[in-house]
């Protein structure tokens, strides 16, 4: 049977062909869609699948103090890992790694034999050991260098500097506040791998270099800090105190030169509680104990300032003209406010005295009288205007706020107690800052550590600026206050703070901690020098001393010793020519 006779078959064959053509056209269209319009999307997805990203850590910026000494540095450490697919001699690898890293062979063997793309054997290995392992040149063993924060002075200024965590991020202190400047930017190595994670050598690698962190220059002075630390430990031991804080700052610009809170802790080992602390405590308790250990008393804790606060009452009184230097007072040993009898620390009373003498004697009735003369409204306004109601803005985390009465709750009695520094709480840094502002001519400064930020190339990228609030007291009041406070040290209760050959001003304080009657005291002394043009201000606070607890007797000598050493040093440093 000839095909010719069946023409419909030929037609159908042609139809079949065109059905195929149509199907191919559809598939071609689909291919155009996938390979032209969706190409970018799938290419991106595929790239993500093929590339392995390894990060290169950026070196964290250093923290450098005023004389150029590095307080926080980086140490190169190594991470040793193995890549299963690339190991050619597993026995040698196990042997060498176990020997060099001080690990058991079983431990290493388990990791070497594990089928995974990359297995970490040990991190934080000394560079020396890392180099040694690298010298063996073993296939499949990777030695990656890494940075670890290192503090050359261990515990010096521990609560100020702070430390970093596992990802090199700041945990407390300056390390937290200046994180953005210090941390730098991680780099990456992009390598192309096959499905098993084996790198394709020909594809090469794409490297994004890390950007190292910027160095932070701070106003801390390692010499002053070291000496203050020494003094603080000495006082803590001899007075069997709970803690001792010393704060040294420049009252003209707010730069903090030293901030000591003993006991300090070791920054290179911040998770170890001090010896003698209770063992076998649970995680939560341990964390609490650590937080306690890391607390910066100068900033994180408030206390009743006591008599040092009379400086503020005096300044308010003078500024408001409620009192003048020559005003006469008489102290019978107490003063009655409403129905309360408020005692002076001198039971027999100071007798007749003028305002300067009243301050030298730290006479409570004098200051109560001044406070009452100012009145609640004005006193509260000064309190606020001096900056005591807000935080100082110091560049450290966790600054505690002032604990203060509500204005409507302040009666005569509250006002009377506030006048000599009781019934409210402020931080030591708040006291130091407010007094600085009163004696420096009336400019409320912001206490700070950070001075400038310098990049890895040594270029200053930012000089840090801090707000200054002008004229919180007049220049005249400021000058009078400097005179009165110099008198306190020269001839009054603060004479233990006197330094031969220098003009020192200051004020003592002895405050009882709450609850009253516990027999616990906080002794403190605030001193500054030179009295006519203050360049340095120091506060020493002894928490719960045993035996003699008067600030004038135990805290003032600390500041005196400190000044005896640092005043000549600061002169040599040309510090006094500033401002």
């Amino acid at each position: 049977m000839a095909l010719k006779s069946k023409t419909y078959i030929r037609k159908k064959i042609v139809v079949t062909f065109f059905i195929c053509v149509a199907a191919f056209l559809l598939l071609g269209g689909r291919l155009v869609y996938l390979m032209v319009f969706r190409s970018e999307y799938y290419m991106e997805q595929a790239k993500e699948l093929h590339e392995r990203e390894r990060s290169i850590k950026a070196a964290r910026g250093r923290i450098i103090e005023a004389t150029g000494t590095v307080l926080a540095d980086n140490r190169t450490v190594c991470t040793i890992s193995v890549i299963h697919n690339q190991i050619t001699h597993p026995e040698t690898v196990i042997q060498v790694l176990a020997k060099e890293l001080n690990l058991s062979e079983e431990y290493v063997a388990k990791r070497v034999e594990k089928y995974s793309s990359i297995e970490r054997i040990k991190s934080n290995v000394d560079k020396e050991t890392g180099d040694k392992i690298r010298e063996y040149d073993l296939d499949g063993v990777k030695v990656d260098e890494d940075y670890k924060r290192y503090y050359p002075y261990d515990s010096l200024a521990s609560k100020v500097l702070g430390f970093t965590g596992g990802d090199n991020q700041g945990i407390i202190g300056l390390e937290v506040i200046y994180e953005e400047y210090l941390k730098g930017k991680e780099g990456t190595i992009l390598t192309v791998t096959d499905a098993k994670g084996v790198e394709i050598a020909e594809a090469g690698e794409e490297r994004v270099e890390p950007v190292n962190g910027n160095d932070l220059y701070v106003s801390l002075d390692v010499n002053i800090q070291s000496y203050a630390t020494q003094l603080a430990y000495q006082a803590m031991e001899t007075k069997e105190a709970d803690s001792v804080s010393i704060l040294v700052m420049n009252p003209q610009n707010g730069e903090v030169m030293a901030m000591v809170n003993v006991p300090e802790f070791n920054l290179n080992d911040p998770y170890t509680l001090p010896e003698g602390s209770t063992e076998a405590i649970n995680e939560k308790e341990k964390q609490n104990a650590l937080n306690q250990m890391w607390r910066n008393g100068c900033i994180n804790d408030t206390y009743e300032p006591g008599s040092t606060f009379k400086i503020i009452t005096a300044a308010a009184g003078l500024e408001s003209k409620a009192v003048s230097v020559s005003d006469r007072f008489s102290c019978p040993g107490f003063i009655v406010v409403e129905d309360r009898k408020i005692r002076c620390h001198k039971v027999g009373g100071h007798g007749a005295e003028d305002f300067v003498q009243g301050t030298m004697n730290s006479c409570n009735p004098v200051f109560v009288t001044v406070g009452l003369r100012i009145g609640v409204d004005k006193y509260y306004d000064y309190f606020k205007n001096f900056g005591l109601l807000s935080k100082t803005g110091v560049d450290l985390p966790g600054e505690a706020a002032t604990i203060m009465h509500k204005k409507e709750n302040i009666g005569e009695v509250e006002l009377a107690t506030m006048s000599f520094g009781q019934s409210f709480q402020i931080t030591p840094i708040q006291l130091a800052t407010t007094v600085s502002s009163i004696i420096n001519g009336g400019n409320r400064v912001t206490p700070h550590f950070g001075v400038k930020v310098v990049n890895a190339q040594g270029e200053t990228i930012e000089t840090l600026q801090y707000p200054v609030k002008k004229n919180i007291v007049s220049a005249e009041t400021s000058e009078t206050m400097r005179y009165i406070l110099e008198q306190v040290v020269e001839n009054g209760s603060g004479k233990n703070g006197h330094v031969e050959g220098y003009r020192v001003g200051g004020k003592t304080a002895t405050s009882q901690t709450l609850p009253r009657g516990s027999g616990k005291y906080i002794s403190s002394f605030l001193g500054f020098a030179p009295a006519d043009n203050p360049q340095v201000l120091a506060v020493a606070i002894i928490n719960n001393p045993k035996g003699v607890y008067y600030g004038g007797q135990i805290a003032a000598p600390i500041v005196r010793q400190l000044f005896e050493n640092i005043l000549p040093y600061l002169e040599r440093m040309d510090y006094n020519d500033k401002g």
């Binding site: 000839a2 062909f17 598939l27 996938l34 390979m35 969706r38 290419m43 997805q45 096959d194």
Partner: protein, 388 residues
């Protein structure tokens, strides 16, 4: 073009036609296939066997045997095979259950679809495709005008069913069953003068598929989804099943998409480095796309179109209905496989294992394809030049 060239030398040569164009296209596809098999398999086979040419060498061997078989078959007048038509049909029906017999059954990639006798591996489904072409061509010829009756129509439709069911159920190979049935439908379509029935059949099939997909999608919220049900869902949204049923499809799409217009260049595929499993098999087209781009992919599609065009020309000029139907069967086999393969690779239809003729790795596939080409060449030789 070949005709014209032959025509010019009419005096020197025999009066019969030999389709050099078809031969050239097939040889091109085979050669290209070997290059792509080497490109796709060398990395993985080096890792696996320490020999980058492992798959290539096996395929070259199969191709040489296939070429020899083609030459032999091309030189035997095709009517010789008519007497084996019934034997082929019954034979394939007998061979399929043999994959269940221990000792000769052979598994690869988790599927038991092969039998192995004396080191020679054979996929009964491949035999069934050839057997079906031969049997239906012979059956339609014997039916004569009977094909026009409804009874004749349904007889031809019923013939492949038992074989298809066996392939589907026994060797768990739905795609081969669909191909065998598709070949039968196409041969019936050409042999029968009807259109209406086929349009109805097509619409009915489409409706059934639509209902099935709809049912599976609405059942997706409930559990109890079968193996194939999940494949449908993975087809609709491969990225949602990226680590399961959608994995291979998604990897193929990554390969195709990252090829772009001109491709990454021969040998530059990334997806073949273990990301796309068994890249040298069913998914080889996606690597062609990745390495040679849209340009290469369209070129290959054009080569297949030319091949089918040659089949059409030969079928239309075949000396008799038997020859024409043989060629139509082969046309059906190859075009269905190419279309389904590319459709699977581009995720146009749900994923099912169909190899790309002449290019995908696979010994029995290439052997039987070459035998089919031999048959077509034999039919072409029957064309007398004066009939063109």
């Amino acid at each position: 073009m070949a005709e014209r060239r032959v025509g010019r030398h009419r005096k020197k040569q025999s009066e019969n036609f030999f389709d050099y164009s078809l031969l050239f296209i097939v040889l091109f596809l085979l050669g290209f296939g070997l290059i792509m098999i080497y490109s796709t398999s060398s990395y993985e086979s080096n890792l696996q066997f320490g020999d980058s040419t492992f798959y290539l060498r096996k395929q070259v061997t199969a191709t040489i045997i296939g070429l020899a078989a083609m030459i032999v078959v091309a030189n035997i007048p095709y009517h010789f095979w008519e007497r084996f038509a019934t034997l082929g049909y019954i034979g394939s029906g007998v061979l399929i259950p043999l994959v269940l017999v221990p000792g000769i059954q052979y598994s690869a990639n988790g599927a038991t679809r092969w039998i192995r006798i004396g080191g020679f591996t054979l996929q009964p489904a491949e035999v069934a495709k050839l057997g079906m072409i031969l049997f239906l061509a012979s059956l339609v010829c014997r039916m004569g005008r009977g094909i026009r009756t409804t009874k004749g129509f349904f007889t031809v439709l019923a013939v492949p069913l038992p074989i298809c069911l066996m392939i589907w159920q026994i060797t768990n190979n739905l795609s081969s069953a669909i191909i065998v049935f598709g070949i039968a439908i196409l041969m019936l379509f050409v042999a029968s003068p009807e259109y209406k029935k086929f349009i109805l059949l097509g619409l009915g099939g489409l409706a059934a598929v639509a209902v099935l997909v709809f049912a599976i999608v609405s059942a997706a919220s409930s559990d109890s989804l079968s193996f194939r049900g999940e494949r449908i869902l993975a087809w609709l949204d491969p990225e949602a099943y990226a680590s399961g049923k959608g994995f291979q499809t998604l990897q193929a799409l990554y390969a195709i998409g990252s090829g772009g217009i001109l491709g990454k260049g021969l040998g530059q595929s990334m997806q073949k480095l273990g990301f796309l499993p068994e890249a040298q098999n069913d998914m080889i087209f996606s690597i062609i796309c990745e390495e040679l781009g849209l340009f290469g992919a369209i070129s290959i599609i054009i080569m297949f179109l030319l091949l089918i065009w040659r089949f059409m020309v030969i079928a239309n000029n075949a000396p008799d209905l038997f020859g024409a139907l043989l060629v139509v069967g082969v046309l059906g086999h190859i075009s269905i496989q190419v279309i389904l393969n590319i459709a699977v690779v581009t995720n146009t239809i749900p994923n099912t294992g169909i190899s790309l003729p002449f290019i995908s790795y696979g010994g029995s596939s290439v052997l039987f394809l070459m035998v089919e080409i031999g048959l077509v060449l034999s039919v072409a030789k029957g064309i007398r030049l004066k009939d063109l």
